[in-house]
Structure formats: structure tokens, C-alpha cells
């Protein structure tokens, strides 16, 4: 293995999820003051990359498409053990849907160059489409596999991939380069070690704008996204909300009536 790219996305800390609210007027989500973390599934992807590097050598490079604040989140990935990071950040990227995102990440991968593997999490916890893996594979003209729960590299350079599907597990055999997205069952991400924190301080984070990537404006941003947001609503519910009260016996009698009334049982 010479080089593994791990795509990471900074997302609002899921522990502070309940502090995210929606602005009813602008219909956008308010996430100020909520710290960002590496998307949990991306951490599993990073762990997989580090484990492969531990066994087979090579370099692990983080790639992220995000606003400039993402530097702090990338520093965490470097502290976990990645060797360097590339942040692609530009106003013109804002509003890109998954197609635009894949274009931009593909350009980032090409800039990094000469890689054997691209790893990412199956989906992100915010706005999760789970579409980036396959679209990135397409943009790079590389095969891709999602839902990876097992990954091994043989000495001959063959990748044994386990993929989880509804009815069980599929075993695949592949060669690099390839794009993979992982499920959390794949591994347990290592904790950041203090030596990692110290080492991360001298590791490189390169920031690239579209000036360096030169992605065509037709493919990115709101304008370059085939999908458009046509509406956003808070969910509301209308249910009968009938309260059953009284003794346990009263309640049970009423419940049994409701159950039989809905027609699902045969009397």
C-alpha cells in the first residue's frame, strides 16, 4: 500500500444534537456554537486506513471538503494517526449536492495523486444521502463497494472485502485502486493517544481552493447541482391522542376493545 485517502466530513457533535434547531423563517438549520467532530463513520474508515498502514506501510492522507473551520477537525484525524491532510475549501463549492461534492472530492483525490485506496464512511449523520462513495467512484472511474464490514489485504495485493446486505454477507475479491465506504461493524476506532496529539502539531494541512482544483463551475455549487431544495418543513403530527384512564382493569378492557376494533384480529 503506498497511499490511502480517507474522506472525512466535519459534522455537528451528535452529543449536542438536541441543541440544533430550525429557523422557521429562513428554513435553515441553526448550528452555531455546536462543536464539530469527525463524522462517526468516517472515523471507522480512518481506523481501517491506519490498521492497513500499520500492517503494510504507506501513507494515510485525509481529504475533506468543508469551510475553513474544518482545520481543527482535521487536526483530530492527524492526532489519530493520519500523516497529512488536504482541505478543499471555496465559496463556490457551497450548495453542492452529492454530485457536485463527488466532483470536488475526485479533483482533490487527483491532486493528491498516486493512491491505492479511497475510504469513507457509508453515510454522514447530517444530511445523510450515502451517495458520495458510488459517485466518487464514478468520477474517478474506479470501482466502488459500499457497506464494508470486513477488509483484508493479502501479501499479493489482493483485497478481501466483506459487504453486509439485508440477507447476510457478500465476500468480494478486488484489486486496488478502489473506493470503499464502511459500516461501523468494521472496527473500533482507536482513541487519540497523547503522542498523537503532539505529533499532529507538525503534520501538514494543505488548504486548496478551486483555483488549484479547477473544477468546472457547471458542476459545482447550487448552480451545478441537478437536485434542488423545493421545500423544508418541521414535521407535525395529528393523532387522536386519546388518554385511557382509570384502574388497570378499566384500561385493559378499553385496550382490548381498541385492538379488536381495528380489525387486525379475528374474533
Amino acid at each position: 500500500m503506498k497511499r490511502i485517502i480517507v474522506c472525512v466530513k466535519p459534522v455537528p457533535d451528535p452529543k449536542e444534537w438536541d441543541k440544533v434547531s430550525m429557523d422557521p423563517e429562513t428554513k435553515t438549520l441553526k448550528r452555531e456554537g455546536i462543536p464539530s467532530v469527525i463524522n462517526p463513520l468516517d472515523k471507522h474508515a480512518l481506523e481501517a486506513a491506519l490498521a492497513l498502514r500499520d500492517l503494510h506501510g504507506g501513507e494515510v492522507v485525509l481529504l475533506s471538503m468543508a469551510p475553513p473551520f474544518a482545520q481543527a477537525t482535521l487536526r483530530e484525524g492527524l492526532a489519530m494517526g493520519a500523516d497529512r491532510a488536504v482541505l478543499v475549501s471555496d465559496r463556490v463549492f457551497a450548495g453542492s449536492d452529492s454530485l457536485g461534492t463527488a466532483e470536488i472530492l475526485a479533483a482533490g483525490c487527483r491532486w493528491i495523486n498516486d493512491f491505492d485506496l479511497v475510504l469513507c464512511g457509508n453515510s454522514s449523520i447530517d444530511g445523510s444521502t450515502a451517495q458520495v462513495c458510488s459517485q466518487l467512484g464514478e468520477m474517478l472511474s474506479l470501482p466502488n463497494v459500499m457497506h464494508v464490514t470486513g477488509l483484508e489485504l493479502s501479501d499479493e495485493g489482493k483485497l478481501s472485502i466483506t459487504q453486509k446486505i439485508e440477507s447476510g454477507f457478500v465476500q468480494l475479491s478486488a484489486r486496488s485502486p478502489i473506493v470503499l465506504s464502511v459500516r461501523k461493524e468494521l472496527n473500533k476506532p482507536r482513541y487519540i493517544a497523547f503522542t498523537g496529539i503532539l505529533a499532529a502539531e507538525s503534520k501538514e494541512i494543505v488548504t486548496l481552493s478551486n483555483d488549484e482544483l479547477c473544477v468546472s463551475s457547471e458542476c459545482i455549487g447550487l448552480g451545478g447541482s441537478p437536485t434542488k431544495m423545493a421545500g423544508l418543513e418541521l414535521r407535525t403530527f395529528e393523532r387522536k391522542k386519546e388518554k385511557l384512564e382509570g384502574t388497570a382493569e378499566d384500561i385493559v378492557t378499553a385496550l382490548v376493545e381498541k385492538i379488536y376494533q381495528c380489525g387486525v384480529l379475528e374474533c
Binding site: W17, V20, L29, S98, L99, A102, D126, G127, S128, T129, Q131, C133, S134, Q135, M139, P143, V145, M146, H147, L159, S160, K164, I165, E166, S167, F169, V170, Q171, L172, A174, I178, S225, P226, T227, K228, M229, A230, G231, E233, L234, R235, F237, R239, K240, K241, E242, K243, L244, A248, I251, V252, L255, V256, K258, I259, C262, G263, V264, L265, C267
Partner: protein, 335 residues
């Protein structure tokens, strides 16, 4: 692909199958496609890939498809992403459908984006509803932020409009006596690298009735408290002929399996009867069950969020209610 006065208004459905068995979502999507196509006077086309498919293509017609394109070849016997994408792309380029629907399944979630990228068109993920607006654009309704918001996505300037749809969100039509055309597609794959080799598939044997098919679901949450009390739910489910569902904490505790989890990251269920026990009602769970016909919930917390989405509310400790309920139902059954 940019739209260029596209006259074909057909609604295509990818009929997912593995080893001769359809995923339930295939007929669910045909049901929805039928509704969409009928409203604009166009056709429902099912797209079926695999090998030895003669026996099963007709099922799709019986469930509402007007045309079934069958790509039957040993090269497609096992699902592989690049061969399927290649064949699908060729068909789309030839026929120019307006809409392609696929299930948000393990296969669909991998295949749809690859195809959408190859066609340079838009794709919305995990839709829970689809509507056509007056301009003939497909409005794709997707949940976001753990289900707290609902977004409507459109793809006005590109065709085909593509969506992956949550299994269980749409309803299949009952089998009908109807006619349809079954067309065989020739399958040829290019010389280029077609990706990983399939080695084998290992099945996990599911012994219980699948949750998504159950008409009655008894679901439990953290409030059930113990494995011992969890067995009360299992008994109730057995008695009523229903399936047991769960939120995340009981799965973590080992009282329930991942297969039984209902919610944003689990299964969507739409049973006629849903009884929720010891469930607080966080959004991630509610999005997976709030389309149930009758929702009865039991929780000792008078302020449980789940009560907001319930038809019948019992603000009591389930340990006081459920054992008596079981006795009462047993008594009625004997009569």
C-alpha cells in the same frame, strides 16, 4: 443528462431481486409508479436484471408493470455494481425514461448513485413520499436531521429524475390479472475492468416473521427495563400474531436484535396496529413507525414525547397493564 424536450414520461422501477427472490420494495415501487404514471397517462416499466428470470418477470406485470425489460445473463447472475450500471446506462440512453425509482436497499443505495453520476442527473435518497407537481416534476420527500425535518427535493433541469425510496414507505398493489409486455435485453459487457469478483454470499438465517411484513408490531424501548420484562412483549406479540420491534437501547442491551430495530437507522414499519411499550419517542424512532394505522403507547412518563404521535395513550407502568392485557386476550381466545 440535461433535459431536451423529453417526451417519454415513463416511470421506471428497478425491480431488485437476488437468487430469484424479489425484495419487497420492488412491488411497493411498482405500486407507487402505477399511481404516478396513471396521473400523467404514461407507462410503468420494470427493469429486471439477473439470470434465469423466466419464472418471475410476470409477477411484476401482475403487480402493475406495463413493460418489463429483462436483462437475463450469466454475467448478471450475481449483483455487481459496474456490470449493472453499464447495462442500465445503455437502457436509459436508449429509452430516456422520465423517472427511475429504486429501493433504498443495500443494493439500491450503491447502484442508484453510480448510475445517477454516470448519467449526470440528480438523485434523492431515502424518500418517504413522491408526488408530481403541475409542471410534471417529481417532488421527492426525504426526512432529514434524524427525522425532525422533511425536505422536498426536485430535479427540474435534468432527466431522468432519480430517487431511492425507503422500503415500506410505499404500498404494493394486490396481484391483478393483467397483461404486460416482457422484453428481453441483450447483455454485453465491455472489456474494461468490471470491478471486484464475487466470491460467495453467506446468509444469516432469519427465523422470525420479518418486521416489515407484520400487520401487528409490538415495540419496546429502554423503559422495558430488563430482559425478563422484555419477554412480556414477546408473549403479547406471539398471542396477537405480531412481530416484536425495538428502539436502539434494547438492541444495545441485547434484549432485541439489530434486525428488530425500528427507526431512521433501522426499519420503517406501517402495520395496522403498533403498540409501543416503554418508548420515549425520540425522532429517530418515530420516523420509522408514525405511518402505522393505529398507534397505542404505554409509558409511565406522563410527558413522554411518543404520546404526541399516539392515537391511544396509556400513561401507566406497563408492568401493571400488559400482564392483565395478556390474560384478557387469552380469555377471549378461549371463548
Amino acid at each position: 443528462m440535461e433535459m431536451a424536450g423529453n417526451k417519454n414520461r415513463d416511470v421506471w422501477v428497478f425491480a431488485e431481486q437476488r437468487h430469484g427472490e424479489f425484495h419487497d420494495v420492488s412491488c411497493e415501487l411498482i405500486g407507487k409508479a402505477r399511481e404516478l404514471a396513471d396521473s400523467i397517462g404514461s407507462k410503468v416499466v420494470a427493469v429486471l436484471f439477473g439470470h434465469d428470470l423466466d419464472g418471475i418477470a410476470n409477477t411484476l406485470v401482475k403487480h402493475g408493470a406495463d413493460v418489463v425489460f429483462v436483462a437475463d445473463s450469466p454475467l448478471l447472475a450475481e449483483y455487481r455494481l459496474l456490470p449493472y450500471t453499464h447495462v442500465f446506462e445503455q437502457m436509459v440512453t436508449e429509452h430516456n425514461p422520465d423517472i427511475i425509482l429504486m429501493g433504498a436497499t443495500a443494493m439500491g443505495v450503491e447502484l442508484a448513485p453510480r448510475l445517477a453520476a454516470r448519467l449526470r442527473t440528480g438523485l434523492s435518497a431515502h424518500c418517504i413520499d413522491l408526488k408530481l407537481n403541475d409542471d410534471g416534476n417529481l417532488l421527492q420527500v426525504v426526512p432529514g436531521w434524524g427525522g425532525g425535518v422533511v425536505a422536498t427535493i426536485a430535479c427540474p433541469d435534468h432527466r431522468p429524475q432519480m430517487s431511492t425510496v425507503m422500503p415500506g414507505a410505499m404500498k404494493a398493489l394486490p396481484e391483478m390479472d393483467r397483461d404486460g409486455a416482457i422484453e428481453k435485453i441483450t447483455v454485453e459487457l465491455p472489456d474494461t475492468d468490471m470491478g471486484p469478483e464475487f466470491v460467495k454470499v453467506e446468509r444469516i438465517v432469519a427465523t422470525e416473521q420479518p418486521l416489515e411484513k407484520a400487520d401487528i408490531v409490538i415495540a419496546g424501548g429502554w423503559g422495558v427495563g430488563s430482559e425478563e420484562d422484555w419477554s412480556l412483549l414477546e408473549e403479547l406479540a406471539r398471542l396477537l400474531g405480531g412481530a416484536v420491534g425495538s428502539t436502539r437501547p434494547p438492541v444495545d442491551e441485547g434484549w432485541a436484535t439489530e434486525n428488530q430495530m425500528i427507526g431512521q437507522s433501522g426499519k420503517t414499519v406501517r402495520p395496522t396496529l403498533y403498540i409501543g411499550i416503554g418508548i420515549s419517542g425520540v425522532m429517530h424512532h418515530v420516523v420509522g413507525m408514525d405511518q402505522s394505522k393505529l398507534i397505542i403507547t404505554i409509558n409511565s412518563d406522563k410527558n413522554a414525547d411518543i404520546f404526541e404521535v399516539s392515537d391511544v395513550i396509556v400513561a401507566e407502568d406497563f408492568r401493571k397493564i400488559v400482564p392483565k392485557l395478556i390474560e384478557e386476550i387469552k380469555a377471549r381466545k378461549i371463548q
